[in-house]
């Protein structure tokens, strides 16, 4: 309970600080650099959840404990959400800073690919009827998707940089002045906290649903000829 209250207060503080306390960074048009405090943590959480989902999937495949799969699913759902947020906030920034919503620079490309992976994950889950199989397949896909990530990280920057010689955004590592750094780190903590909070809620819900004893439909004993087999 206390944690929730603290988190809310903390988040509010960060939001206010993002606009009032830290200075707008030099070299960015207007106040746009403030997106840093929101966009980067969102992307960070999105990637973190993917990692978490993958690890939970491995655990599930090894132990077959449905709770592990619930964790994988919750992490994936949240990851998807934050990924959407990150894409949206990134787009807004792109429009404000560079004049167009979408540019296909390395970071943008990676986040879209992550979005696609999440989408595929959910599509797979909804296409498999048998729950046991669903969990296994989803787990396998999560691992396969994760394995392609190093290739993405390696390949995408080399490619897109040379395809589109535009300024690639790299506000993540400008020389941050102390005030900005403080707010940034604070936001990182706030978003991670938010993530953990919602994750736990979602996980609890899934676990509770799983614990319910399924109410079995009592099957009619059809007896067409009044004889036992």
């Amino acid at each position: 309970m206390i944690a929730k209250v603290l988190l809310t207060i903390w988040m509010t503080v960060i939001i206010v600080a993002a606009f009032l306390y830290a200075d707008a960074a030099v070299g960015f048009p207007g106040e746009t650099s403030r997106i840093l405090f929101f966009h980067v943590p969102q992307a960070w959480v999105a990637t973190l959840s993917f990692l978490l989902s993958m690890i939970a999937s491995c655990v599930y495949l090894a132990r077959r404990n449905p709770k592990a799969d619930n964790l994988a699913l919750s992490a994936a759902e949240l990851g998807f959400l934050f990924c959407l947020l990150a894409t949206a906030s990134g787009s807004i920034f792109a429009k404000a800073a560079w004049g167009s919503f979408w540019n296909w620079d390395p970071r943008e490309t990676s986040i879209v690919i992550l979005l696609m992976i999440y989408g595929a994950y959910f599509a797979l889950r909804s296409a498999v009827a048998d729950p046991e199989k669903r969990r296994v397949f989803a787990g396998v896909y999560a691992i396969l998707a994760f394995v392609t990530v190093p290739f993405l990280v390696f390949v995408v920057p080399r490619i897109t940089a040379s395809l589109h010689p535009e300024d690639t955004m790299n506000p993540a590592k400008p020389g941050m002045d102390p005030k900005t750094l403080k707010v940034f780190l604070g936001s990182l903590v706030a978003y991670t906290g938010l993530f953990i909070w919602i994750l736990r809620l979602r996980l609890r819900l899934l676990n509770l649903e799983g614990m319910q004893e399924p109410e079995f439909v009592v099957r009619e004993k059809i007896d067409p000829e009044g004889e036992k087999p």
């Binding site: 729950p131 046991e132 399924p214 109410e215 079995f216 439909v217 099957r219 059809i222 036992k228 087999p229």
Partner: protein
Amino acid sequence: MYSLEVINLSKHYTETLLFKDISFEMHPGEVMAITGWNGSGKSTLLRIIAGLVRPSSGKVEMSIQGESIPKELRRRFVGMVAPAFSLYEELTALENLEFFCKVRGIAHNRESSLQMMERVGLAENAHKFCRNYSSGMKQRLKLAQALIHNPPLLLLDEPGCNLDSKGMKVVESIISKQRQWGMTVIASNEKREVDYGDRVINLSE
């Protein structure tokens, strides 16, 4: 030598319960019959024993001389026939058998395969393509496929399906031969087939 133990097997699909707490033990020379209404789960039970389906709870243990056989290896010791099974239509019957021998890693040659075809009464039709086979012939071929590796455990789901009286004799001889050294589980609604069993489990109870 061999034994099969089925312990507290239950299976449910989402909201439908198929069966609950089925347990039995088997040793060489025994024949078990599983019977019940359509949809009572006979086929599913056999599939669980074969290792094709996971039970919702309980387990199946097959052992040789006390040593438990891991699930991945169980298929080497199990031969199964089921209405849902199919063999490759593009191949001839003989080619089908040879394929399964190869895939199972069983030494075979033209002679041994033809012998197997004889056993199920398909010798004259060995070189015909499966797509030209009648349903009875296909059933006989399925039986052959289940026997090529001499499995200690034979799972027969409606073995007499599509078979004429001659075909039924083939099934009978297979069961009696299997009795000499192995175990058989038959799932059926036909009284004749159920009667082959020493014991009967009725899933509808």
